[in-house]
């Protein structure tokens, strides 16, 4: 019995291959985009975890100094007192073509570094510890460095994250030029008993408990949350397609189901069969979606890796390796999605009386009479989003507001469109106009899900587009201010730097040293720069808040400038006092924008920096010179000191490189934006196609009353175009609100800076035109079908409708 009943139910799909394809493709798209984002996130997170484990940062407490560097004598004190600590010296250095993080560790005491050495059986331990030493790096890092000479032989190992070069601490001291310095001390897990308290023997050092998560993962959480939000949005948009198709399939099979029940098949058995069918379809779509997800993820991952490296310095491998959990979760999402989309249909089936005749309108969802309920639900969702922002702090609150706003706006769309179309219909002139607008309004319930999907996609497009464009505009202007010097020079060593500086002074308007030390404020790493008193800074530095005598106070050493991230995180604004080192405290006299940097930063007068921070390298300069002479001076400088091209950069090269990093940052967002819009357009197409059988009874009488099929087809095109355009117009305020939340709430929490919001009306016009075009393209096929429908098919409406 069950087999026969199942075959009867399945036979529907044989007669409706278009619906079957729509269902499979819709669910596959939803699963695909979701799985793509998950694959990218998994890959990135596993890279962070690998980095953290391999470098021993995750499970060990660390000791750091407020001044940035721990003197060697503190290490000696600790060891003499019996404390088992392992020193780490870390710094950025240019090797070959790339800047890398050089990490020097004591191979004898570091908990995991010795495994690198053990992986190289031909390598004698003494080679690592004695000059020239050895460098260890991931093969991808080695390849990226290029064929140039490195300060020590470099060995390939898979056990390190990309972008990190590991070496013995003595070798690191030599390469970084920071002899006798320690960045941090790892407090090993096995310690003798009865040790003196750290606060007694090294009171100037700060003990940080083992990190539950790495700094990298904390910093990149917002990025991944953005991706996840996009993935979820795409999934939801895909479900809109599936919901409509499954609902229609259930509704159109009510006749078959009624017959099966009349023939003695219990409703519970029919429901189980439908559930099995649904799960089978979900498995097929899920598998298809996983293939699509893999392809999307593989194509986007290189850009994501570049973004994470460029923006956060986070190491992510460019290749995609998938775990079984990814397959399981992808198929699980497909099944959950199918259940969500089909749940309403199954529920309706359960409630309908046995003899209820098959209808065509019920599956459509909300009817026009339900619009007030939808409007109320929408308002409640928006209210709950606002409550979420108030209840939860930080990113969670921001995303709660976003979720409430987007869901609420989607629910509000059909009632708003119904209202607008009602007003237009009331004012319409001419009989065709009256019918057109009234008919448009009556078809709203059937198209509402697709239009909601389109609204979400368009608003996201406007919101994210506004954010990115605002960011780009601000960032470009900021670069112009920040990169005021015409040339930027990096010397390989301090002594060469001194020679370069002496050579440059008579040949340029000014040589501005770029010198810094590392410190900690509120447990966060902060780089403290010392700058010379020069008009370049006074005239160009991008201050967003400052006291009137800011430059004078900075120059006399009584004031400090801090970046926006630090100001917001520590709530330090002009007038507040802050402690940079135990011996150095100053008043905040200004706050400057510092885009693209996740960490805090401070600026003091150069003499102040040199007085309070030891071993500050002096290898970088900004050079002021008339622009016309910059290129010649750069060439002379390279030739005189035998410097590589990358050691002397002109302003435009740095700007181009910075903008390239910036563009990479949003390339993934832009790609997901386009994909989501594509899925939403597909939702309209599938809705129009599934509505096709319902449209004939509406348009056939108009044809019979004397309107040509050509005219009706044109009106069908216009109908879809008008709905898409109206939705786009309503998406503009929602998108702007979304942009505001992204800029004023999410960005501030995620990155620590707030951007001014710029509006781009031409972009909205373009998007409205694109949405209208998408509506027209989606309606082209149904319109063509209407135009070529033979009269005999149209006449069936009058003779066989039941």
């Amino acid at each position: 019995m069950k087999r026969a009943a199942f075959m009867a139910l399945l036979s529907y799909w044989r007669r409706q291959p278009g619906q079957l394809v729509t269902l499979l493709l819709g669910l596959a798209l939803a699963t695909g985009l979701w799985s793509a984002v998950q694959a990218i996130n998994d890959q990135a997170r596993s890279s962070y975890a690998l980095a953290a484990e391999q470098l021993g940062a995750r499970s060990l407490a660390t000791l750091t100094s407020a001044t940035g560097a721990i003197p060697l004598k503190r290490y000696v004190t600790l060891r003499r007192a019996g404390w088992q600590v392992s020193p780490v010296l870390e710094g950025r250095v240019r090797l070959g073509n790339r800047w890398v993080t050089l990490m020097g560790v004591d191979f004898l005491s570091h908990p995991t570094a010795s495994t690198m050495q053990e992986q190289q059986p031909e390598l004698a331990p003494v080679d690592v510890l004695t000059p020239p030493g050895r460098l260890f790096a991931h093969p991808a890092t080695v390849d990226a460095l290029g064929p140039g000479k490195t300060p020590a032989p470099i060995l390939r190992t898979d056990g390190l994250p990309i972008g990190i070069v590991l070496t013995d601490i003595a070798t690191a001291e030599r390469i970084l030029g920071r002899a006798g310095q320690i960045s941090r001390l790892l407090v090993l897990s096995d310690q003798p008993r009865d040790l003196p308290a750290l606060s007694e023997i090294v009171p100037d050092l700060t003990l940080t408990a083992p990190q539950r998560e790495t700094d990298i993962s904390r910093l990149t959480d917002s990025f991944h949350m953005n991706l996840t939000a996009f993935g979820f949005l795409s999934f939801a948009v895909g479900l809109f397609i599936v919901h409509g198709t499954i609902g229609l399939a259930f509704e159109q099979r009510r006749g078959t189901i009624r017959t099966l029940r009349a023939l003695g098949v219990p409703l519970a058995a029919i429901s189980r069969l439908l559930l099995i069918e649904l799960m089978g379809l979900a498995l097929v779509s899920g598998a298809l979606g996983l293939v699509m997800g893999y392809l999307v993820a593989a194509s986007l991952l290189p850009d994501v890796s570049a973004t994470l490296r460029g923006l956060y310095g986070a190491p992510v491998q460019g290749g995609l390796s998938l775990r079984p959990s990814w397959f399981v979760s992808g198929l699980g999402m497909a099944m959950v999605g199918a259940l969500i989309a089909g749940g309403q249909g199954l529920g309706t089936l359960y409630r309908l009386p046995l003899l209820s005749a098959p209808g065509q309108q019920r599956w459509l969802g909300a009817s026009l009479s339900q619009m007030p309920v939808m409007a109320t639900a929408g308002a409640i969702c928006i209210g709950l989003g606002g409550l979420g922002l108030w209840l939860f702090e930080g990113l969670l609150g921001g995303f709660a507001l976003l979720a409430g706003l987007m869901l609420g706006a989607a629910l509000l769309l059909p009632p708003m469109l119904a209202f607008v179309l009602g007003q237009i219909a009331r004012r319409a002139k001419g009989v065709v106009g009256e019918w057109f607008w009234a008919d448009l309004r009556s078809t709203l319930p059937g198209l509402s899900l697709a239009l909601m999907a389109l609204l979400l996609a368009l608003a996201t497009n406007i919101g994210v587009g506004t954010m990115v464009s605002s960011f780009r505009l601000t960032f470009t202007g900021w670069l112009d201010q920040r990169l005021a010097a015409e040339l930027y020079v990096t010397a390989p060593k301090d002594d060469i730097a001194q020679d370069i500086e002496a050579w440059l002074i008579p040949r340029s308007d000014a040589v501005l040293p770029i010198r810094y030390g590392e410190g900690h404020i509120l447990g966060q790493p902060v780089r403290v720069y010392g700058i010379a008193d020069h008009p370049t800074y006074r005239n160009h530095w991008p201050l967003i808040d400052a006291q009137p005598d800011v430059w004078q106070r900075l120059g006399d050493g009584s004031g400090v400038l801090i970046n926006e991230q630090l100001a917001r995180r520590a709530d330090l604004w002009p007038g507040a006092r802050m402690t940079l080192t135990p011996e150095l405290s100053a008043e905040v006299v200004g706050v400057y924008s510092d885009y693209g940097n996740p960490n805090g930063q401070a600026i003091v007068a150069l003499p102040v920096l040199l007085a309070h921070f030891k071993g500050v390298a002096n290898r970088q300069f900004g050079v002021r010179i008339p622009q016309a002479r910059a290129a010649d001076l750069a060439d002379d400088l390279r030739q005189t000191f035998d410097l590589p091209a990358s050691a002397v950069l002109d302003q435009s090269a740095i700007k181009a490189r910075s903008l390239a990093v910036f563009e990479k940052t949003f390339v993934v967002t832009a790609a997901l934006n386009v994909l989501t819009l594509g899925v939403a357009s597909f939702a309209i197409l599938t809705s129009l196609l599934t509505l096709w059988t319902l449209r004939l009874p509406q348009v056939a009488p108009i044809w019979a009353l004397g309107m040509t099929r050509r005219k009706l087809a044109q009106l069908e095109l216009l109908r879809s175009t008008a709905l898409a355009a109206l939705t786009a117009v309503l998406a503009v305020p929602l998108g702007l609100l979304l942009a505001w939340i992204l800029l004023a709430v999410i960005n501030v929490d995620a990155f620590g800076w707030r951007l001014p919001m710029y509006i781009f009306p031409w972009d909205w016009l373009l998007l409205t035109a694109l949405a209208s075009l998408a509506g027209a393209v989606a309606a082209a096929l149904p319109a063509h079908r209407l135009r070529s429908t033979p009269p005999s098919d149209l006449l069936k409406v009058f003779s066989s409708e039941s």
């Binding site: 019918w435 009234a438 509406q698 009353l705 004397g706 009269p791 149209l794 006449l795 409406v797």
Partner: protein, 218 residues
């Protein structure tokens, strides 16, 4: 002569049926005359009505409507006929669900640019629809909906009204009432009526009665 059907044959391609639905059918209808066409299910009576209303094309023969040969008209010409001298009433009423009763009543007349508010007001009153004009079709009973459909057709002041089982979906009382009204109004307007029905009783109330059997006039 308002309508002349001459030796018309019609087949539906792709149905697997080799016998034509209409096989050499001829008839004629004068202005103001009422004609009933009866026949069993599948005899081709609705098809003949559709051909007379320029809704479908035929394979051979000719139909002359108001002096125009339908075989020579393209889609636009046929549509123009349906907005002018010909109006139709269907068994399923086929009102426009998104428009009110008032809008439905005037729809066809406005589409054919023959809108006469006084005439429509009189029709509305005579059809007993005055109190329902602001309602939508779904808010009316079957009899009321069919009265709106008749009003919509007659509002055009057509020369020929084609009605396909106009009372087929109504109970006996409603059916009688609708038919009385239709005959009264076409008589008053001088409109010819070509009505397809299963019922010999209804057919007997019209001026002439033809019977169709297996695609031929019996």
């Amino acid at each position: 002569m308002l309508l002349r059907v001459q030796d018309v044959t019609k087949k539906y391609p792709g149905t697997g049926v080799t016998r034509p639905v209409l096989d050499g059918v001829s008839l004629q209808l004068n202005a103001g005359e009422t004609l009933a066409l009866t026949g069993e299910s599948g005899s081709g009576k609705s098809t003949l009505l559709h051909l007379a209303g320029a809704l479908d094309s035929f394979d051979s023969g000719e139909i002359l409507l108001d002096g125009k040969a339908l075989s020579r008209l393209d889609d636009t010409g046929r549509a123009a006929l349906r907005r002018g001298p010909v109006a139709l009433v269907f068994q399923q009423f086929n009102l426009i669900s998104s428009l009110t009763v008032a809008q439905n009543l005037s729809f066809h007349a406005r589409l054919g640019e023959r809108f006469d508010p006084d005439w429509i007001a009189r029709l509305t009153e005579r059809l007993g629809l005055s109190e329902f004009v602001a309602r939508y079709p779904e808010q009316l009973s079957g009899g009321q909906q069919q009265r709106v459909a008749i009003g919509r057709a007659l509002a055009l002041r057509p020369r020929l009204l084609l009605a396909d089982e106009p009372t087929g979906n109504l109970d006996e009382i409603a059916s009688d009432r609708v038919l009385d009204l239709m005959l009264e109004l076409v008589g008053a307007a001088g409109t010819a009526l070509f009505l397809v029905t299963h019922s010999t009783e209804i057919a007997a109330r019209l001026d002439r009665h033809l019977h169709l059997r297996a695609g031929r006039i019996a």
